[in-house]
Amino acid sequence: MNAKTSIRCQNFREYLSQMNALTLDKLYAESAICLAVFRELPPLAKHYTSRLLFVEQPIPTAVINSWVTQSALKEHNETIEMLKSLRIWSDAQVPGGLPAFLVNSTFRNSLKVALLGGGDPWIIKQTKDKDKHERDITFLDNYALERWECILHFMVGSQNTGEGISADTIQTLVKAGLTRYETKDTSPSLTAEGFQFLLMDTFSQVWYFVIQYLANLEAKGLNLVECLSFLFQLSFLTLGKSYSTEGMNDSLLAFLQNLRELGLIYQRKRKDGRFYPTRLIINLTKGHKEPLNVSKQGYIVVETNYRVYAYTDSPLQIALLALFTEMQYRFPKFCLGILTRDSVRQAFRSGITADQITNFLKQHAHPSMSNTPTILPPTVIDQIRLWELERDRFLFHEGILYSQFLSQNDFEILKTYASDAGHLIWDNPAKRVMVVSPSGHDDVRRFWKRHKKEH
């Protein structure tokens, strides 16, 4: 009952550690993937990996343990565990029989190639000649955002449903549990997870979507290793430069079209032979996110009296606000909602968390709100958090109610027995009721029957 159905955006590391050894080894053969994996590691792990980048033989555990100071020992052990779970390091033995670690040779070689060169060339090459229809970074940012919002619009079912959204994308959304078909022929509707998805920032949305997309990749007859490698090569390209599609096979071209639909790359025409990566894909491997640099301002003003003013007329944004506010008025280009306990609790019930709400409000705050250090009024932030905590006041247990005892004595005997055996959850002597855990129910009932027989 208390289980929250909130979705969480996995990072790439967690995604990889779920894979089996065989797939991982295949992935590590690609230098672009190794580069992305390396970037995802925590700082200490990065240094360990680069220290052993040129070391071919196993390194005794004792030597590695002597690398860190005493105070960082905990982090050191966690780092080793992580490197092992990603199969970058494996257990080995030095000739003397001492325990040691060995760096995965495939990983080491690929990373070396990425750093120093010398392997197979990357599939994606820069275009030689100049583009007649050259696009600048602002254009790409706008394009990416427009495409991505198209998908979000589709999810909330606002305006021009289905236009420009392929069956593939819809299928991914449905498989990810973000939307579902109520009936066969209507367009899909949003699930609780879908609402949470909408409240995430764009970067997390893209990640979440891409991971879901990759999960279905093999069913579509595309090769996971090939696509993942391609995806990361894309993410290491330079923004604002055009690249050629020459030398790509059909499945990669199909994959490219899928990415184009999501706004991760820009291509003027399908047969154009050149494409531009957008910031959405470049940010995929960047630790922290640079926001899309579009001339789009925040539109939300929150006041200390819990009123939320939104200067917008986009149905998507209004629908999002309506998730956790009580809409009061709506004018052209402007609407007003109030954060009430009921409306916020309504949102909590569909699995949205207080953090998601406050982050959303912050992310879209009107420029005039940014004068204060917290952006939102602290009272509002605190109150939303308190409303969330309020829901955690109850602990839910299953139980069996014992009631209608004839005498206080009977009640006391049974209560003492149950509490001694550790089965008692709750009791009220005045009303002669008690609740026993389901696991202890049989035991307590047997005792009660025996007790009745004896008296």
């Binding site: 970037r39 105070s71 197979d120 630790g287």
Partner: protein
């Protein structure tokens, strides 16, 4: 264990003076030395997508920022398999250094006639690095300077720039910039206690590391092990410490390092005590 990733701006100051002992001993060593530096620069960029890199070459006549360059060259060819950005870094650094060294050689020939011991304008180069750091301050979380030089068996090198050095080191200290130095000395000189005491002092002042190495083929390993981690990570690692540092100051009259001297009570300048032996 989600530690927020810190982005770093690294300024590498390379001494390209072609009179260094290292170069004269064996030409191939110098190439190895440069390759190691480039690999180190790339490793720094590899660590974090938001890391910034500036490479400054310091010669006896002028200092040049060789990376990043303002205009992108047209050379599209990348080294197969290498991350395109790294190829660019490698290409740019190599071509720039080539230019600088040949220029330096020319001026050196002139200088030889003048019988002047040439030395690189290291203090100025660090100064340029600090300016660059100041400009990019808002984009990164921390900044660092790494000095790589090959020593001319001459521990009095740089003494004439003493004041300039002290100024940049104190500035760096104030800006919270760590200054590291890695000095390569030729094999036969390793045993002798050659140390660039000015650099040693500077590293100590800014909590940086001072490394002296003789084995150039292991140069990259040294760099990756000790100079690659940022200040935050260094706290967690066990790294070599400096044994003893001489805090000798240079006198204002002859620019020699002195043990005892007169200090002016107003301007704190130190003067050599001339002991008259009669």
């Amino acid at each position: 264990m989600e530690t927020s990733e810190q982005s770093t701006h690294l300024v590498v100051v390379i001494d390209v003076l072609p009179t260094t002992a290292l170069l004269l001993d064996d030409g191939t060593l110098y190439e190895k030395w440069l390759n190691a530096i480039i690999a180190f620069c790339n490793s720094h960029l590899l660590l974090n997508a938001n890391n910034k890199l500036t490479v400054i070459a310091t010669g006896c006549e002028h200092n040049t920022i060789i990376y990043p360059v303002d205009r992108e060259e047209n050379g599209n060819e990348t080294i197969p398999g290498q991350y395109p950005l790294f190829s660019t870094v490698t290409r740019v650094i190599c071509s720039q250094i080539k230019q600088l060294v040949s220029k330096a050689r020319y001026s050196l020939e002139k200088a030889e006639r003048a019988e002047d011991i040439p030395q690189s304008l290291m203090a100025g180069a660090i100064g340029i690095g600090l300016l660059k750091i100041n400009r990019l301050k808002s984009e990164v979380d921390s900044s660092r300077v790494a000095i790589v030089t090959a020593c001319n068996d001459n521990s009095t090198l740089f003494n004439s720039q003493y004041m300039n050095f002290m100024n940049v080191f104190f500035t760096a200290q104030k800006m919270n910039v760590v200054v590291d130095a890695c000095i390569a000395v030729s094999n036969n000189n390793y045993e002798q206690d050659i140390n660039l005491s000015i650099l040693q002092q500077g590293c100590d002042l800014t909590n940086g590391l001072y490394l002296k190495i003789s084995n150039v083929s292991a140069f990259l390993e040294y760099l990756l092990w000790t100079l690659l981690p940022d200040a935050e990570t260094r706290k967690k690692l066990l790294l070599p410490t400096q044994k003893k540092i001489s805090y000798k100051a240079a006198c204002f009259c002859h620019r020699n390092l002195i043990d005892i001297g007169y200090v002016c009570s107003v301007c704190l300048s130190s003067e050599l005590i001339t002991t008259k032996t009669q």
